[in-house]
Symmetry: C3
Subunit: 346 residues, 3 copies
């Protein structure tokens, strides 16, 4: 159960540069490709001729030419031409609103008439030269809400990521959850602790000592349908923590876009935006590799949790204080989905 | 939906020489083996003792001895013997009519009483020393009719096989489809074109120049249940094309036997019969390898087309002029299946 | 259909030494681990917090700490602690009676109140220093009763294991089946035969000639739910066979514990106990390897037999004299299952 009249991240731009990309999103089989002028385009992955997947074709002069018998499909879902055929009466295929922004290809899998690019999230860092971004994509066999839960309750870092970003202080320190409109925010501040391995590396990269006590923070912000932006950082202890002067802290934003593939599988776009040494591409690659390893540690847990929930569908889960972020996110989602349904019904 | 009271290719003869072969055909689990005198034999792949698959057994003096407890099954589906047992009361297993002919093992998966070897197709080339044959077997996850469509509309060569046998002239040249009784025939004649890579090789192998314009032809003949024989060739341009004297042309027959395994999977027996350099076994192997690579290019397309059709079962496909061969083949099939059902009902 | 109020072998002890083990038994998802003092423990593989599998966690001071958010589960299925939480109201998870005995971890998947360690089978060899044991574990996709049938009818050795322990005399020699209470016994005595390869090796290992006629015996004892102990051996011919003096014979017990995973898959614990050269660990390893290869030969047969039975569920199997052991075992099982159901209903 997921909203459909909303924007989801569908792909990273370079995934559609060389050839079309077939990807199922919210249950829809979609082909993504670059139309005239390189514009990202999304159509149903179906050739109206014989039902072949258009994603096996290739782009020729901005049209998507079916790889089976050469039907040329335009970006609007209408057939442009086919060798030896009059194509005027060919049935169109569904076209999905697409926007390329903030370094991602976004798709609106629901009612096209409702698509509104102004509803895309603001990502201040994405167009700021002082910030750099690196990230990746994982396919995971779980309900998208299990990943939201995961990201809104970072006490799991102590256990799942014990060798990198986890430390006992995380689950010993209470978190606080608030809701502002459609945003759920869970934050945790840990003062005067020792920095875990990941942050020691970041401190050194930033020219700061890595063996002194730090103040550490985590501020998780969920917005529908399934974006979780997490401000994370450490400052040398006693310099003001989150509010410390820039030279005394290292911080970044963990970026998570969770796109349902089906009811029980997701495309997980993860990454990190940072505002230090933004031009250092080697550092970007290094962080990306490290983050990729850490985030891969969640995959088995989430997939086996999903299997357990399918085995015991009637069981209720506990809703502890640490779960409040996920619980509030689900409430927001329920509201969004209910609103969407009443709109459709009206 | 496929006819069952008909002959299908079940195996290549050497598949059953060394040991029994278990193969599902038209939904039936069948074991093929060589009985007395080496005669190809087909039985239900079930041991009446404990239900073990007989295909795990071995042939001893013309009987199939179950690999579990040694029941010896005769070619008629009746138990011959079993150590320490009286077998007279053992229930028989179903026996399927089998004929070995034209270099293939054929099976009749339907009503045995209706099996008639005189209904096997004629394959003139198969017993003619001036012809050579080489081929292979692919398992593909698609409805057998999608493969018939594929073979009755060769415009796909331009797209799927662009580096070997495809060329733009194929889908620029209209084809013509006729029906003669239960045979659908689609033909295309392309005159004064340049030969694509496959045919350039064949011209050279035949001692003909490969850099001159040629007349090329493709004549696809479908007969039920699912045989498609395609006459293909090129002649030096202006020598009469299809009717050119033998020394001025190279030609062969693409042989396709499509055997349903289930409603959505097939055993695809493909090959090529040629009447030049018939004794050249190295050439046979070379052609077989090249054809195998080309035909493998269709597999992903057909399997993903099948998945698309299962996803959108209600959608109708277009029936263009190029599709007429497949459309007529399906009409013939519908007629054959309807006749079979009325026979069964009567 | 299997009894649940009974003891099954769940694991070999070293499987749970280093970390928790998740294993489905009789349809129950169970985590096995070592609690305080190293006691084998079994709980539902479910964390009451968010449904994560506890088997991904680790043991800390005798409690099983969930690998997701650190809930510490006690051996009784009650939550002991969780960082920052009061856990008194947390719902317990199911706990399964477990006993470690005879070199195995045993679990009682049914009603805990009925569990009774005195009902564990006696295995005289397991605690006798004159005996040695070696064995392994296979996962096989078949109904557990097919494996019981297999072991209660050793005529299959002639066919499935023709190169190791099989010989024609097995299925030429009648067997005899008796029932004593809940035990079914099938025995076969073959006198004055030549020893097959496995036994020739054993004779040599025992310092006996391997080229002389032997008397061979097989005594299969089934007890519910699914234990089959097989006394096997050979004596130099004419020395009394099964009753021959110890120096004239080689014998051992084939040990089979068959634990249903689901209705159509099993955990098969196989091994061999012998009372000669009990201290020779190299011999134990050698026998284990040889037995492992022989028992692997049954796997394909059993899995494909299972598939055949699922394809033709209505078909009856024959019940010959050689099948009597399995037939009697099933009768005993039917009685045990019926008794269990009436107990539950009462």
């Amino acid at each position: 159960m997921f909203p459909k009249n909303t924007w989801y991240v569908a792909a990273m731009p370079d995934e559609i540069d060389a050839k079309p990309l077939g990807r199922k999103i919210c249950g829809e089989r979609i082909v993504f490709f670059r139309g005239p002028g390189g514009a990202a385009t999304a159509l149903e992955d179906w050739c109206p001729h014989r039902g072949a997947p258009l994603s096996l074709g290739r782009v020729v002069e901005g049209n998507l030419v079916c790889g089976y018998h050469g039907l040329a499909m335009g970006c609007d879902g209408k057939t442009v031409s086919m060798p030896g055929q009059r194509v005027r009466g060919f049935p169109p295929v569904r076209s999905f609103p697409v926007v390329e922004r903030h370094g991602f290809v976004w798709v609106w899998p629901g009612e096209p008439a409702l698509a509104d690019a102004s509803k895309l999230p603001e990502l201040a860092w994405s167009n700021d030269p002082e910030w750099a971004y690196g990230g990746g994509l994982y396919h995971i066999g779980c309900d998208y809400r299990l990943m939201i839960d995961n990201l809104m309750d970072l006490t799991h870092e102590t256990y799942v990521h014990s060798t990198s970003i986890g430390q006992p202080e995380i689950d010993e320190t209470p978190c606080k959850t608030t809701v502002e409109g459609d945003m759920a925010i869970t934050s945790r501040f840990m003062n005067g602790i020792s920095a875990p391995p990941f942050w020691r590396t970041a401190l050194r990269a930033h020219g700061l000592p890595d063996d002194q006590p730090v103040d550490r923070w985590q501020i998780c912000r969920f917005t529908p349908p399934s974006h979780v932006m997490i401000e994370v950082g450490v400052a040398l202890a006693g310099r003001g923590g989150y509010e410390a002067p820039r030279q005394d802290k290292v911080y970044s934003i963990v970026v998570d876009f969770i796109t349902p593939e089906t009811e029980s599988s997701i495309w997980y776009f993860w990454g990190m935006a940072r505002n230090f040494r933004a031009d250092d591409k080697a550092l970007t690659a290094q962080i990306r590799e490290g983050q990729g390893k850490i985030f891969a540690e969640d995959m088995e847990m989430l997939e086996r949790q999903q299997q357990n929930l399918l085995q015991w569908p009637e069981r209720e889960l506990l809703k502890l204080n640490i779960d409040t972020g996920g619980v509030q996110a689900r409430k927001i989602l329920d509201r969004v989905i209910a609103a969407e349904r009443s709109t459709v019904a009206a």
